[in-house]
């Protein structure tokens, strides 16, 4: 009886956890809220580059949305500039450089690797390493304790024999 209760509990927990993950996945930002573009391109590749650039650049006016997802005035102007530069044959790197020179790191959703952003880039890795070191320490100590438990030293052996001898 007791075991069936615990099984249904663990099933419930599994269900709750999966539900939680599903909700998290739903709340991930998606880039499908794009503004309707009226720009014309010669090739699909140009259009594709336009889409990815305006997804990758942040709208200066509205803090947390990309150029493609924003109807703000500056965002509109910057999309028009991206279109112009693509049609003039500028590379993605040149276009991003153009934006960077005017709006700085703020406009890049993927910040450059500088002294100021190094913690931002490698912080998670650093924390993972710290966690791994701690976990390794705990694991090693736990193993040492169980090894110590398994093997009795000489005085403990003698004591054991003594106890067993007393009993028999």
């Amino acid at each position: 009886m007791a075991s069936s209760v615990s099984i249904s509990n663990s099933k419930m927990r599994l269900f709750a956890i999966s539900l939680l993950f599903a909700l998290c996945a739903l709340s991930l930002p998606s880039s499908s809220y794009s503004q309707v573009d009226t720009f014309e391109f010669d090739t699909d590749e140009q259009q594709q580059r336009f889409r990815s650039l305006s997804d990758e650049l942040r709208c200066p006016m509205c803090q947390n949305s990309s150029l493609s997802g924003s109807s703000g005035g500056v965002a509109e102007d910057l999309r028009r500039e991206i279109h112009r530069m693509i049609m003039e044959g500028m590379s993605d790197a040149e276009i991003i450089q153009f934006m960077f020179e005017r709006y700085g790191d703020f406009i890049l959703f993927r910040p450059r690797l500088t002294a100021g952003t190094i913690l931002l880039w490698f912080g998670p890795l650093l924390f993972l390493l710290i966690g791994a070191v701690i976990a390794f320490g705990i694991w090693r100590r736990a193993r040492k304790i169980s090894d110590d438990d398994a093997e009795l030293d000489k005085s403990q052996q003698e004591r054991l024999q003594q106890l067993l001898g007393d009993k028999s």
Binding site: P60, M61, Q63, G72, G73, V74, D77, L78, E81, F100, E101, R102, Y103, G104, F106
Partner: protein
């Protein structure tokens, strides 16, 4: 060693607490300008009153470059300050009429008064991009050599003038002498 280990979490806590404490005072709305200590971008445009204007028309002394538009409500709030500054001859102010329409801009200046030596007409917002403008109102402090030295985003009222612009100007003047 064991005693030392006890202090690791405490040390970690202190480091995180200091970082978060400092974070409380960071303003996420601070918008750094990339153009600080760079020359004003070059322009050859028309002014709101229809004249051809370029960098040569800019004042040769320290001046303010104010980004405005007739649609911009906060611009009305800072307008009395700009009027006072030019009326009292404190500092020349050049306007950038940003993403606006010429006739609306003219009406707005007639109605509210015109503090600007002239206003660069930037209907497309293209000049604004070269300046790194986020939106009106914004005010740049430009030195006598046409180099941008300071930028303030949003309303320039008397308090901002006293607390931010006057010290920045005093610094520029001290540099020059």
């Amino acid at each position: 060693m064991n005693k030392l280990k006890f202090y690791f979490p405490v040390l970690g806590f202190v480091v995180v607490a200091i970082a978060l404490w400092r974070g409380l005072y960071l303003d996420p709305k601070t918008l750094p300008s990339m153009l600080i200590d760079k020359s004003m971008p070059s322009f050859e445009l028309t002014s709101v009153d229809g004249k051809q204007v370029s960098n040569a028309d800019l004042p040769s002394q320290i001046f303010l470059l104010n980004v405005w538009g007739s649609y911009c409500l906060p611009c009305l709030i800072e307008h009395p300050t700009l009027m006072r500054l030019t009326e009292e001859g404190d500092i020349p102010v050049v306007g950038v009429n940003y993403r606006d329409q010429q006739d609306l801009a003219i009406d707005w200046l007639e109605e509210n008064g015109n503090p600007f030596s002239f206003s660069i007409l930037d209907e497309s917002g293209r000049f604004g991009i070269d300046l790194g403008v986020y939106g009106a109102p914004e005010t740049y402090l430009v030195d006598g050599n046409g180099v941008i030295r300071f930028r303030h985003v949003s309303v320039l009222d008397e308090a901002v003038w006293q607390e931010q612009f006057l010290p920045a100007i005093a610094e520029l003047l001290a540099e020059g002498s």
